[in-house]
């Protein structure tokens, strides 16, 4: 059974249809790509899946539970985590704090535990720090843990945003243009990182990306959007040879 099932989602902003009749199905551990020209509705698809927008029509289920129209934090608790196209780190907090924010969902000590520093709080705090450091170690950011997140180099910020999303223990990770603004070497690193994350944390990955080389080489399946409509679905080879896709990117043949 599919883990994430998006069926016939439509998003309208007034008279503008940003996304129409969008469907997608992901199994645990899948690596799925979403591509399309600028303004095709890719980020809208992410925003509606993670609850930032409510769909006008259609429904989304995660592991059998309806999540469409839920508040974003509840969708995150259900098992979806995401990164943003324009990096949205808590830039004044330290690198470690950023990751700990993601982990904090599972903190079970209540307000009384915080106020009185009850044994439960002491335990949780130590565990939280250890787990966060372990995660940062895995992502190669452990040395920078005390720096403000905003002071990291660009690639580091991208990695930290992924680490923060992973800290919420997602079943599916949504990456919105992770390679944007990276040089070719960094892109190769990112490619390895995505493969590594998928194996290590056993998460499904849904990826928006403009870099065709990256998308075509790692994704199992690709959905192509144009003007809010799905124009093609299939393996990288199928999509690459689809004339509709070529037309969408390069324009109609004269």
């Amino acid at each position: 059974m599919a883990l994430l099932e998006i069926s016939n989602i439509t998003v309208k902003f007034g008279g503008l249809t940003a996304l129409s009749d969008f469907s997608l199905s992901m199994k645990s551990g899948d690596l799925v790509g979403l591509i399309g020209p600028n303004g095709a509705g890719k980020t809208t698809a992410f925003n509606v899946t993670t609850g930032i927008y409510s769909p006008t029509a259609g429904d989304i289920t995660l592991a059998g539970h309806r999540i469409d129209g839920q508040l974003p934090y509840k969708i995150n608790h259900a098992g979806l985590a995401r990164t943003f196209q324009n990096i949205r780190l808590f830039s004044n907090l330290t690198v470690l704090d950023n990751v700990m924010v993601g982990f904090s969902n599972s903190a079970a000590h209540g307000l009384l535990g915080t106020f009185l520093r009850l044994p439960r709080f002491v335990n949780e705090r130590t565990l939280l720090r250890a787990q966060s450091m372990e995660l940062l170690e895995t992502m190669g950011l452990a040395d920078l843990h005390a720096r403000p997140a905003g002071s990291l180099p660009y690639g580091g910020q991208r990695r930290l945003e992924i680490a923060r999303a992973l800290a919420t223990r997602p079943k599916i990770l949504l990456l919105d243009e992770p390679a944007a603004g990276m040089n070719p070497n960094e892109k190769i690193d990112l490619m390895h990182l995505i493969g590594f994350i998928r194996e290590r944390f056993n998460v499904g990955i849904w990826l928006i990306e403009h870099d065709m080389k990256l998308v075509m080489s790692i994704c199992q399946r690709i959905t192509v959007l144009d003007h809010g409509q799905i124009i093609s679905v299939g393996t990288p080879q199928q999509v690459q040879s689809d004339s509709k896709v070529i037309n969408a990117y390069l324009g109609e043949p004269a």
Binding site: T50, I52, L71, P72, Y73, N76, H77, A81, R82, F84, R88, L89, F90, S91, N92, L93, D97, M100, V101, G102, F103, S104, N105, S106, A107, A108, H109, L111, T114, F115, L116, R117, L118, P119, R120, F121, V122, N123, E124, R125, T126, L127, L128, A130, Q131, E134, L135, T138, R164, A165, L166, A167, T168, R169, R200, F201, N202
Partner: protein, 469 residues
Amino acid sequence: MLLKKSDQLPSPVGRPWLHTLLQNVWVLAALAAMVFFARWLENPDHFNAYYFQIVMMVGITITLAVSLQLINGVSGQFSLGHAGFMALGAYLSAYATKTYGGQPIAQGNGDYFSDPGGVMGYFLALAIALVVAAGPMLLIFLAVRQLRRLSSALPAVGMLLLLAWIAMDVVVASKHQPVPYYCVWTHGWKGCIDLFNALLRQIPNLSTVFGHLSLSARQPLSFAIALLGGGLVAAGSGLIIGIPTLRLRGDYLAIATLGFGQIVQVLIINSEPLGGAVGLTAIATYQSIDEDNLPQRCISPWIFGTALIAFLLIWRLVHSSQGRAMKAVRQDEIAATAVGINTTASKVLAFVVGAFFAGVAGGLYAHLNGALSPDTFSFIYSVELVVIVTLGGLGNLWGALIAAVLVTLLPEVLNNADRLPHMTSQSAIRFAHGLAANRRVVYALVLIAVMIIRARWRDWVHGRWRWTG
């Protein structure tokens, strides 16, 4: 899988309860030391009434500043209603001790604390009546909210219609005697007030619960209940105000909280039992009875104990996962909600904890002064607290503490410039008096200067200062 839920992992700390003990035992020691130190501090030979008042106001202002720092600085919600929360705590705790705190039993006015049961009964009755009133209101509110399934504009229209109905109801009821049967809201409120009064009649029963305690035990107990009650009422109103208004951002939230402060002030001015515009007078200042059966000033451990506890608890909150969530919400609300933080709950928590300590500080203020005037809790007082918090640096608890001390002391020092040593120049003294009289203008100028300098102090240090850009 690498990432496990923490409850599936073994305890990482040996003897965690030892940490708990070590972190809390010094607080008790510090509170005990304050009680001991109070004997010296409150001896009229050491401090006259004027100096004593100033030192006590420093303690109250610290509590207020630190609690506002949690709301404005840490969670980043710009609130201008802190004086409103303080007023609620001040008036309700003062009214409770004054009316239900027991009869005078010795000379002086230090005896309104002989009946903890009365004070407790008052707050219990208030809480029950409020829950009875709030239950149907909450149901109606939730029902109105369901309208958004039909259209996003409908809840607002529904609320407006509801408010119009309530207003019409009250107007009609005020013009007819007896009140017509169709004035549902007026009858509902009258029912709640009747319930409140019926519950209050049960107070003598509650008093007997504490009857066997000695007077020296009953006094601090009833004062503690009055302070806690005032704080909880403020916290409850923070919850009711916070849930709808904290969805607003920036200026809109500031205006909504400002409105709350005004509403509290107007309610107090129009409330006869609370003294109206004249104010509530003849409140017992907190005194205990010493060995010779004479009233003895002893409010300082309460004031500074509250300041210590407020600072400590808020410090712990800020440095916990809840506090980290608040800071994350301040930085980027969308990112925070995307990593699983319930942003509304996080903001409401900051608001409620901040309001609670403001309420307790209000109770202390009432029982320090012995009289309350609604003018004290004006919008300007909220602004003054915001100035303190901003001067201390948003989010900086120590800064708020230091700024609270300085801003409380400075006007008094300037007012007494003529009594300072080596102060002989008449014009300097006049200038100091002028500054103290116009301190609010000075605050504004200082705030503007802080904003400019704080944003560019690096440029300043490196000699790259420019006034523009």
